[in-house]
Amino acid sequence: MIARALIFALFLGSTVAIASEVNEAALAADPVAEKRLQDLSTELRCLVCQNQTIADSNAELAQDLRREIRGMIKDGKSDKEIIDFMVVRYGDFVLYRPPVKGITLLLWGGPVALMLLGLFVLIRYLRRRATRIADDQPLSADETSRADALLKEINPK
């Protein structure tokens, strides 16, 4: 089991190494363009291995898309134009940071709404408890002596 996990880890490590090697070879040629390629491709999802960015993935499609991006950078396209190129073809899913719009409102607003709801419930609970404690009347002298008597009955010492 451990051996298998190790092999898997090694395999993962090796693919990452290959991916960065390929990038590094081109990096030397034009550092500014390569930096842009890196930045852009970490924003874009590889649709083949869906939890990797185009920068991380060594899938064929990711390589092709890196090549496309490199071409577009060379052609002087802006970052927005390049991102739009991807969205037109692959949809919002290609973006690692989904845009804020009607359909993603729950995604972006959900956690905040849940936290506010939690805070509201917590504050209400604390307030109620505070008033309940404040409302509790201390025992009268008569009640205290009766309580003492009862306690002594159970515990005669």
Binding site: V48, E60, Y90, G91
Partner: protein
């Protein structure tokens, strides 16, 4: 007691939410191209390499664009269904052969000349079709996968339904199954051909 029902209800709702979420297919990414004109291309035709085809040539017809390659295992699975379809239904299927050689993974592309790649691609595609049957009216060759990118191809096979005006009406990612054909594609074709 009442509040425990409330918690139980919330838990049940969470279970339902997760059950639905886990049963969705994450590979089925809705294509933004549905409802948009089929992206233009001008690619060499497999049977007549000196001729090219572009989507405009298909204007006025409802047609299918099926993305395939000989190295694609799932394509083999869906192929008999396409062959059957082409015999029974009068809707042209255009094949888009996607990265026939460089998609295979068995070749060192840095050592292959462009002409050699082209020759090999045509040879392999022809061999595959003569072995498994040719359901395509025409097949066009996308050697470097650029047209595939324009169509948002990310998992071969993929199939697009294009209407008479050249608008993409449906995209199916993955092999066509009899269910997909009968329940999604055929009704749509009937509607578009009305």
């Amino acid at each position: 007691m009442n509040r425990y029902y409330w918690i139980l209800g919330a838990f049940a709702a969470l279970v339902v939410l997760l059950a639905v979420g886990l049963n969705l297919n994450p590979r089925d990414v809705p294509s933004p191209l549905v409802g948009k004109p089929a992206p233009a291309f001008n690619l060499n035709v497999l049977a007549t390499p000196d001729k090219t085809l572009c989507p405009r040539d298909m204007q006025g017809k409802v047609w299918l664009l099926n993305v395939w390659a000989s190295w694609c295992v799932s394509c083999r699975a869906e192929h008999p269904i396409l062959v059957e379809f082409s015999k029974k239904v009068d809707v042209p299927v255009i094949g888009l052969n996607y990265k026939e050689v460089r998609g295979d993974g068995g070749f060192d592309m840095s050592k292959m000349a462009a002409d050699d790649e082209k020759k090999l691609a045509f040879q392999r595609a022809n061999a595959w079709l003569s072995q498994h049957g040719d359901p395509y009216k025409l097949t066009v060759m996308d050697l470097d996968g650029r047209v595939g990118i324009d169509y948002g191809v990310y998992g071969v096979p993929e199939t697009y339904v294009v209407d008479k005006a050249g608008i993409i009406r449906m995209k199916h990612t993955g092999p066509i199954t009899p269910d997909v054909l009968g329940q999604k594609i055929m009704p749509l074709l009937a509607e578009l051909n009305k």
